[in-house]
């Protein structure tokens, strides 16, 4: 037996917490505050940071810029970490970024089979489905079946390349710019680049007429 699987009394420490998850969090928070390990108002700040300050709008701005400015696109594909940090997008789980571009020949899709690695600085926290067993287990072996579930229709000419985030490099998919977006501003373009387009499980869509 590995030393990690040996526990005093045969029970792992976490089994001493209350069974209900919400109560479990409260118990742990109470304990860590009493122990002087946590300042509860810092917890509010962290939650606010990820609920309100960091999100997929960051990634959408990066992609929109790459559609509009060939030199920005070139810089993004060559050194995404430096390029996005020049826009102020730095931080946890965005320390090493690589941008991978969809083309008529290649469709890219990102997964983390071992945990839930994801470019937080550009896309915020991952959605629940990205962290699900089904997405983690299937995407790497049957990406086309997964893409079909998401309603993504590939071009006949496109091969699929799946990126498994197994180290600290975080991948951003740069989708192809759709027809009919000529003349749109950066802001308008960012508006059609949904989070999933930058994971590879969706394609940018023009707004329906009248919207």
């Amino acid at each position: 037996m590995s030393e990690f699987d040996r526990h005093p009394g045969g029970r792992p420490p976490h089994s001493h917490l209350p069974p209900d998850p919400a109560l479990r969090v409260m118990a742990l928070e109470t304990l860590l505050v009493r122990k002087g390990l946590i300042d509860p108002s810092a917890l509010d700040e962290i939650a606010d940071h990820y609920a309100n300050r960091v999100g997929p709008r960051n990634g959408a701005i990066v992609v929109a810029k790459s559609w509009l400015d060939p030199s920005f696109r070139e810089s993004l594909l060559r050194d995404a970490t430096g390029t996005v940090s020049s826009l102020g997008f730095t931080g946890r789980q965005g320390e090493h970024i690589v941008a991978v571009e969809n083309t008529p020949d290649i469709h890219n899709i990102v997964v983390c089979t071992l945990c839930s690695c994801y470019p937080w600085t550009l896309l915020g926290l991952p959605p629940a489905w990205y962290k699900s067993d089904a997405y983690r287990s299937r995407t790497i072996r049957e990406p086309r079946s997964v893409l079909a579930e998401f309603g993504v229709n590939l071009l006949q000419s496109q091969k699929v390349r799946v990126w498994d985030s197994t180290a600290e490099v975080r991948y951003l998919v740069v989708p192809m710019r759709p027809d009919g977006t000529e003349g749109m501003t950066e802001d308008q373009l960012a508006g059609i680049i949904a989070r999933d387009c930058m994971i590879g499980t969706a394609l940018p869509r023009l707004p329906e007429p009248g919207q």
Partner: protein
């Protein structure tokens, strides 16, 4: 041998639920669990690789029944006990724990944005050049086992063991999780993106032979072919 988290390629999970997305935090306690984990991590008693390994070491029956943030909470409790910051008795009855003065590195709200926005870099200087050039053919090691610690952490998924692939990128030298997860030093190694043909990984289960899979692999995971 591998642990429960290493699920790439397995059968049986069915359709992907909740594809339309949803809120960042579906329950209030999810936000609290994430924040507790990050705030406790900021104390500096463990690193991100130790954190991941703690989640991977959850007993399979717990890993399967816990939702995502329950895994985080359980792993956090296990780390706190492992590093001597709390006891199992205190986990069962937090109110009985005596009030303590603040830890020297306690994360204060004024520092949160800076700490989260600064991030950490995993690139390290190493002596010697990268062993593999772009385009080189390599084979991954045959076993997913951590060569330093029995049952230890590694980032080579089981589905990719003993497979031939091609180097398609190098990310510099970075901290080696297999060592760093166990307090054995950062032991930086060159990190490569390795591309595999679908059929090399999946054999008769290949969905489409034109497709490829890329993963990031440290130099010690690879040998020349």
């Amino acid at each position: 041998m591998t642990r429960i988290h290493d699920m790439g390629g397995r059968f049986g999970d069915g359709a992907i639920a909740g594809r339309s997305g949803g809120r960042v935090f579906e329950e209030r306690w999810h936000a609290r669990a994430l924040a507790l984990t990050l705030a406790a991590g900021a104390l500096g008693h463990w690193n991100i690789d130790m954190s991941r390994h703690s989640r991977e070491c959850l007993p399979p029956k717990d890993y399967q029944r816990f939702s995502y943030y329950e895994k985080w909470l359980a792993a956090l409790a296990d780390l706190l006990v492992r590093h001597g910051l709390v006891t199992c008795g205190e986990l069962s009855d937090p109110e009985r724990s005596p009030a303590c003065p603040a830890h020297q590195k306690i994360l204060r709200p004024a520092h949160v944005a800076t700490v989260l926005g600064r991030g950490l870099t995993y690139t390290r200087p190493v002596s010697g050049a990268a062993k593999f050039a772009n385009g080189a053919m390599v084979r991954t090691r045959r076993h997913t086992a951590n060569p330093l610690v029995i049952g230890g952490h590694t980032r080579l998924p089981a589905y990719a063991c003993g497979r031939r692939g091609r180097i398609v990128g190098c990310h510099g030298a970075q901290v080696l999780p297999d060592s760093n997860a166990h307090g054995l030093g950062e032991a930086p190694e060159w990190l490569y993106s390795v591309e595999f043909a679908a059929a090399e990984l999946w054999g008769p289960d290949t969905e489409n032979p034109d497709d490829t899979m890329v993963l990031d692999a440290f130099e010690s995971y690879l040998e020349a072919v």
